[in-house]
């Protein structure tokens, strides 16, 4: 399938059930949307992410947290983009919620109260990106040793490590 240009206009995407539900719930929460390569990404304001997940889950629009990860766009600001990959078993569809975080304030609300599976994923992001999750039951390093300095998956961390 040849690539088609991405749709980034929220008005053209607002009929999608997930975006429509989010706009009805709180139109301030939706900061933008993108439809690219048959995948839908919705940008959510940082302070709304936990409530947005809870709302979508309670409405039955998504049922399962597949993956939670992050990408570092250093030196651009906002530097981090969290990506929540949600899946609906009923509609057989995936959506991606995205949250942008500034380097100096890399804090987001934990969604472990919505999906307990986020526990390990958020610990991994804390360990490798240095992102803090408020309300996480046990935010400690998971891959690296406890006394490790730095966050290896950040772009300003050398691939060979500090020598």
């Amino acid at each position: 399938m040849p690539l088609e240009p991405a749709i980034t206009d929220l008005d053209r995407l607002k009929d999608h059930p997930v975006i429509a539900a989010l706009l009805v719930w709180n139109d301030k929460a939706v900061a933008g949307a993108k439809f690219d390569r048959q995948e839908l990404s919705i940008y959510i304001g940082r302070e709304f992410i936990r409530d947005a997940c809870e709302k979508l889950k309670s409405l039955g629009l998504v049922s399962f947290l597949s993956d939670l990860t992050c990408a570092d766009y250093y030196p651009r600001e906002p530097r981090f983009e969290l990506a929540y990959h949600l899946l609906s078993h009923q509609r057989k569809e995936r959506i991606r919620l995205k949250v942008k975080l500034e380097a100096g304030d890399a804090v987001a609300e934990s969604i472990t109260s919505v999906w307990p599976t986020a526990n390990f994923f958020e610990r991994e992001l804390f360990d490798l990106f240095g992102i803090h999750f408020l309300g996480h039951p046990h935010l400690k390093r998971i891959m690296m040793p406890e006394d490790w300095e730095g966050h290896p998956l950040r772009k300003d961390y050398p691939v060979e490590g500090y020598r």
Binding site: L3, A71, H89, T117, N119, M143, P145, L153
Partner: protein, 405 residues
């Protein structure tokens, strides 16, 4: 009261009111933890009050390494994540990269990919069956399973030159067309395999001791399984009828007919039964792929991305230039992000790739099924006996390579 010294504080064991509990370390070098997994158990006599997995011993920074490699150089790294089914990992990565590039893959390559992915599922499940039974004291099953696995490893060696780290699937198709005699070997294996599964079942399924160790042990409810992010046979054994191969088909799986085994019981026995049935279904899919294999090329027509055939490279100037350019400076990928997930033998394997328009990926994240499935272990084991932990670990079939990455 159980307390921790500082070095082990990574694993939370809150203070309890009980005076009688003690802390027991299981692993990281315990034979039945299937790798370097450390479990911290808080126990009251034989009973488990709390269980905490401690991981990271095998962390090699694969995701960071990927960012320093060209797209095609990432393929060998994906072999090393889940070393029991390297081709399934290759498949997931190349599908994600192909989605980024907007490539179309010829049907013959897709069908060979499906056939090999199903053979990998069989060999991965054989390792699971052998070690699971071995953990529970059934030594001989292990030997039978590894006999068939050896046949499969020979098939992989035949097609890719390697028994384990195959790197056979490439962005745009396959590394090479399969060699002469390959399909006959696959057919020979598939013809005998059905009887071999009956043989394993005759050793285990009616075995009173095995049933007692498995039935009703390490129960996981449907709601817990979804909340804890469990995927694969463990999810299906808890009563969720979900298989990515059927529900969100990829790589031409919509052309194959197969059943998705499920169970409502949610215990170790249900997971055992689901995987045994998956062995038979995988054989069916591989058989269909072999019988209906389309003719044609095994590489996509995209000379700037796919390496040319050896013969062309030696005779055509243009092919030589493309070969030189791909090997020395890679190929650029249009910027964007994709998440591609497939059904690995353990559950949902997903690759999240972000491209910034250069020849190296900006971010490669692997969503490994074992990483999420491991979180369900404490729910399964709390309140049960220590001996059940061994059965529970075997039943979620973890590979530490993909947990720690």
């Amino acid at each position: 009261m159980a307390t921790f010294d500082d070095p082990v504080a990574a694993v939370p064991v809150p203070d309890t009111e009980q005076e009688s509990t003690m802390i027991l370390n299981m692993g990281p070098q315990h034979p039945s933890t299937h790798g370097v997994l450390r479990l911290v158990l808080e126990i009251d006599g034989e009973q488990i009050i709390r269980l905490m997995p401690d991981i990271g011993f095998l962390h090699t920074g694969i995701e960071k390494t990927c960012e320093a490699k060209f797209y095609q150089q990432v393929v060998p790294l994906t072999d090393r994540i889940d070393y029991l089914c390297p081709m399934v990992n290759n498949l997931c990565y190349v599908l994600a990269a192909e989605k980024l590039l907007g490539m179309e893959i010829p049907p013959r390559a897709q069908w060979i990919r499906v056939m090999l992915a199903e053979l990998q599922r069989i060999s991965s499940h054989l390792v699971w069956l052998g070690t699971h039974a071995l953990d529970l004291g059934a030594m001989s099953v292990f030997l039978y399973c590894f006999r068939e696995r050896e046949d499969l490893l020979r098939i992989y060696e035949m097609v890719s030159g390697q028994r384990m780290m195959t790197s056979y699937f490439r962005i745009g198709g396959l590394a090479l067309d399969p060699p002469l005699g390959f399909f006959e070997s696959v057919k020979k294996f598939l013809d005998i395999f059905s009887e071999r599964v009956d043989e394993y079942e005759s050793l285990l399924t009616g075995n009173r001791i095995f049933i007692d160790r498995l039935k009703g042990v390490a129960h996981l409810s449907k709601e817990d399984a979804i909340a804890l992010g469990v995927t694969g046979p463990a999810l299906r054994a808890s009563g969720v009828d979900w298989d990515l191969r059927r529900d969100i088909p990829y790589c031409g799986y919509e052309n194959f007919k197969f059943k998705v085994p499920t169970s409502q019981d949610g215990d170790v026995w249900a997971r055992y039964a689901c995987r045994i049935e998956e062995l038979r279904q995988s054989r069916e899919i591989a058989k269909q792929a072999l019988e209906g294999l389309p003719e044609g090329s095994t590489k996509a027509d995209m000379p700037k991305v796919v390496l040319p055939d050896r013969e062309k490279m030696k005779t055509q100037m243009e092919a030589l230039i493309y070969h030189f350019k791909i090997v020395t400076e890679g190929f650029t990928v249009p910027s964007g992000e994709v998440y591609q997930s497939i059904e690995s033998p353990r559950g949902e394997m997903g690759y999240y790739i972000v491209s910034d328009g250069t020849a190296k990926p900006m971010r490669v994240h692997m969503r490994s099924p074992s990483f999420a499935n491991l979180q369900a272990l404490s729910t399964m084991c709390e309140g049960r006996l220590i001996a059940d932990v061994v059965a529970a670990i075997g039943s979620i079939d973890i590979v530490l390579g993909e947990i720690d990455r």
